[in-house]
């Protein structure tokens, strides 16, 4: 697709913009939220900003998770910017490398995030604690952890938030941009062939003209 004669990969442009929007929103709204009891324990999880709240106290994060969040922030930023640069120059020689760098990252982040959540839920299930990815359930504290004659259970609710769905859209658009790039490459090849064909006809006609001119210039015998 082109605008004012310039070829633009609109899927890539949309993907770049949405990726940067997802990045900004994710600082304030988590991708997934888990609440135990009446905000006794709160987990705000996202690849960009993950923090925990215990017993109504101040929220905190785990240093290793903070570093992983930083990796995601840098990945999202680089992906968004590079995708934008690619989108407005999709036919340049280097554009394929820009696209290759940027189109996979949101997908990897979404898959890694969902994979980690599923792993946590499965591990908790093995330990006898049910944690819902979406919806509510009752979490029973294993009896080994508390004294006999006492049982403790809490209402646990988990839910995916809007930025998670936005991130899926961004990942989808990145893949669409990659697929659409093939069309752009075909259009570019076709254009190059036509240009080459036009050039050949022009060169032939030019040579014919030169040949007829040189014939005219020959002395009559």
């Amino acid at each position: 697709m082109s605008m004012m004669g310039r070829i633009i990969n609109w899927f890539g442009l949309s993907a770049g913009i949405i990726t940067l929007i997802v990045l900004v929103i994710s600082f304030y709204v988590p991708w997934w939220q888990l609440t135990i009891g009446q905000n006794l324990i709160k987990v705000n999880a996202s690849p960009v900003n993950t923090n925990f709240g215990l017993l109504g106290g101040a929220q905190f994060t785990i240093p290793l998770i903070w570093a992983l969040n930083l990796i995601s922030i840098l990945s999202f930023t680089a992906c968004g910017l590079v995708m934008l640069i690619y989108s407005v120059n999709p036919t340049k020689d280097y554009s394929k490398h820009l696209l290759g760098f940027s189109y996979k990252k949101p997908l990897y982040v979404v898959i890694s995030f969902a994979g980690c959540l599923i792993a946590i839920v499965v591990i908790a299930g093995i330990l006898g604690m049910s944690i819902p990815l979406m919806g509510s359930t009752t979490l029973n504290i294993p009896t080994q952890l508390i004294s006999s004659g006492l049982s403790i259970s809490a209402l646990v609710s988990g839910s995916f938030q809007l930025p998670f769905y936005f991130a899926i859209v961004a990942a989808g658009l990145c893949i669409a941009a990659r697929l659409y790039h093939k069309n752009l490459a075909k259009v570019q090849k076709k254009g190059q062939k036509q240009h080459h064909y036009r050039l050949s006809i022009w060169q032939l006609s030019h040579q014919l003209k030169r040949f007829s001119f040189s014939r005219q210039m020959l002395p009559n015998r």
């Binding site: 135990i36 009891g37 009446q38 905000n39 006794l40 215990l54 017993l55 109504g56 106290g57 101040a58 905190f60 994060t61 785990i62 240093p63 290793l64 903070w66 570093a67 992983l68 930083l70 990796i71 840098l74 990945s75 680089a78 590079v82 020689d93 280097y94 490398h97 820009l98 290759g100 760098f101 009752t138 004659g149 006492l150 049982s151 403790i152 259970s153 809490a154 209402l155």
Partner: protein, 183 residues
């Protein structure tokens, strides 16, 4: 073209490796700190480096206040509990119920429960009164079996409390107080 590819590869590696090396360098003397933040550490150790730990140690089950109040004419009984909310936000006690038994795990005398949910503001201690009706026949039977006894030691069985969305069940709470009998 190759320069672009090489630059992007270096950028990809730097994005992943940079933060990990950075955080490992910062925590090089305390690698456990990478996964256990000070808040969790002090909560486990019971220290008081910040408000969180004191909250954890102050979080206690409701405690009985005095002896249960019993009206022999109506059979009404009321048991009072004290509960302190150590959290920074208010909590609600939605349910508190139990079965009243004579002695420690004796005959069932009746049930008591919370009339309506109670809200306790942050840092406040509130007295929660749980009430119900006792089985007059069971009381009379006890009086007949124990002539001249003016009080009845009670225990609470199947104590259920729902505090701040957490349900606690206790099979038996012995020595929950003395019922004063008219006898």
């Amino acid at each position: 073209m190759d320069k672009v590819r090489i630059a992007l590869t270096i950028l990809s590696i730097a994005i992943v490796v940079g933060p990990l090396i950075g955080i490992a360098f910062v925590y090089r003397d305390n690698l456990l700190g990478l996964v256990v933040p000070p808040q969790v550490k002090s909560l486990i150790n019971g220290g008081d480096s910040n408000g969180l730990t004191s909250v954890g140690s102050q979080f206690q089950m409701p405690t009985l206040v005095g002896d249960p109040q019993y009206n022999a004419q109506t059979g009404a009984v009321a048991v009072s509990f004290n509960f302190t909310n150590p959290l920074s936000n208010s909590v609600s006690i939605d349910n508190l119920s139990a079965e009243v038994q004579s002695g420690n795990g004796g005959a069932s005398l009746g049930d008591i429960s919370l009339g309506q949910p109670v809200q306790i503001a942050s840092g406040e201690t509130s007295t929660i009164t749980v009430s119900g009706l006792l089985n007059q026949a069971a009381i009379s039977q006890f009086e007949a079996q124990n002539p001249g006894v003016n009080s009845l030691n009670i225990s609470l069985a199947n104590l259920n409390a729902n505090v701040a969305g957490v349900t606690v069940h206790m099979d038996q709470l012995n020595n929950a107080g003395q019922l004063q009998l008219p006898g």
